[in-house]
């Protein structure tokens, strides 16, 4: 598809005017992964982390209150849906919108945890995510200004998108998905509630793989 080796065969294309939502083997696989983890977030119960007391045999289980569980599950499902949207989108601006939605829901997953370290990390991460909307939307706007369209389908293979826009897109996704900022995330993942917190990693990984595809295509 699009004469690109990473795309694989074309599976589906759905036309909405000039915007065409498509699935190649590559994006289809990413979509299936996102779907799988969204379903996991819907059906699974949170883990109960065990803390061992130093210097003794005692240990205790952290209990997760029901309202926290509900909120985390909702945010994890919302994050999964945003990821699904980002995987399926055929419009660069929609992709950037879904990316920033992933950024917001990632904060949301850990925001209800009453742990100062987690909240501190989530806040700093949120600042990065907010600042990253500048290159993210900026990249999409420069694509629109220089080519006159936002449709990945129309831009594919034309090599009309300037390098600056591509760099901006990748930078923005880095900020939203936190690809190189794992030090910030290490604190975030101290939050209890394993399958939901896992969604943070899955969404950013999938988002990064998708932006690689977009940058190579347009």
């Amino acid at each position: 598809m699009f004469d690109l080796p990473i795309e694989g065969a074309q599976l589906m294309a759905l036309e909405f005017g000039d915007i065409v939502d498509y699935f190649s083997v590559y994006t289809g696989t990413l979509f299936v992964f996102a779907l799988l983890f969204t379903v996991l977030a819907i059906v699974s119960l949170p883990e109960k982390p065990m803390d061992i007391v130093f210097g003794g045999d005692a240990y205790y289980t952290k209990d997760i209150p029901l309202d926290l569980l509900r909120f985390q599950r909702f945010m994890a499902i919302a994050c999964g849906l945003a990821t699904l949207g980002a995987m399926a989108s055929g419009d660069i601006f929609n992709f950037t919108l879904f990316s920033s939605m992933i950024g917001i829901t990632n904060i949301g997953i850990v925001a209800a945890v009453r742990n100062r370290h987690v909240l501190e990390a989530a806040f700093q991460y949120g600042i990065v995510a907010m600042v990253a909307t500048v290159p993210l939307f900026g990249g999409a706007a420069i694509v629109l200004a220089s080519t006159g369209t936002l449709s990945i389908w129309a831009l594919a293979g034309a090599a009309a998108v300037p390098l600056l826009a591509k760099i901006f897109l990748v930078l923005g996704v880095m900020g939203e998905g936190m690809a190189p900022f794992y030090i910030g995330k290490a604190e975030i993942t101290r939050a209890p509630g394993a399958p939901y917190v896992l969604m943070i990693h899955v969404s950013s990984l999938l988002l990064f793989l998708r932006v690689v595809e977009i940058v190579l295509t347009v």
């Binding site: 919108l97 925001a111 600042v131 909307t133 500048v134 900026g138």
Partner: protein, 198 residues
Amino acid sequence: MSQYGTVLAVVLVAMAITFVALFRERDDLHRLLLTDLAEVVSLAIIALVGTDLAEALILPGLVVGISELMALSEVYLVKEGLRAVPERLMHIEIMDSAPAILAGVLVVYGIILSGFSGGVVAGCGILFWFFCKGHDEAFTLIETASGYAWALWIVAFFVFMLAPAYWLFAVMLAGGAILLKVMAKMALIGTMRGDRHV
């Protein structure tokens, strides 16, 4: 260099200034405020394109920015353990006499305008009313109205797609619904005045 290129360069300089400011700032609250500056820069880059499509893109960009700011403010409040409610709220005489007239005028004018701009104008009226007169658990009612208005707006879009012949009906429906929705959302800001839950 084209006009677009020149202004883009200016905006990129503004972006660099924002980033330097964020880098140098150590206080968390000030950082949060500075991110708003970054948001304005990103909206400026979109606005530079200057087409109808760009205008349509600004709104979702703005919404995402505001929701991120709100989420981060919540996190900040919890993180810093800020719970105290302001004890003395501003109250001046004009806040007793003006709301009825001003809110009335704004709402009526907003309804005449209809659509997004009408929603904003009427919303300002109701915002002012709630701000001055206080409110009595109006949250649920406003949210319900806003939810139904949103559903009607979507219905109008389906009418556009499935039965284009009834476009006038769809335009009226969408215009009225978006008026209600924007108005409801704006009015909620007026209720956020020292309430226990905000």
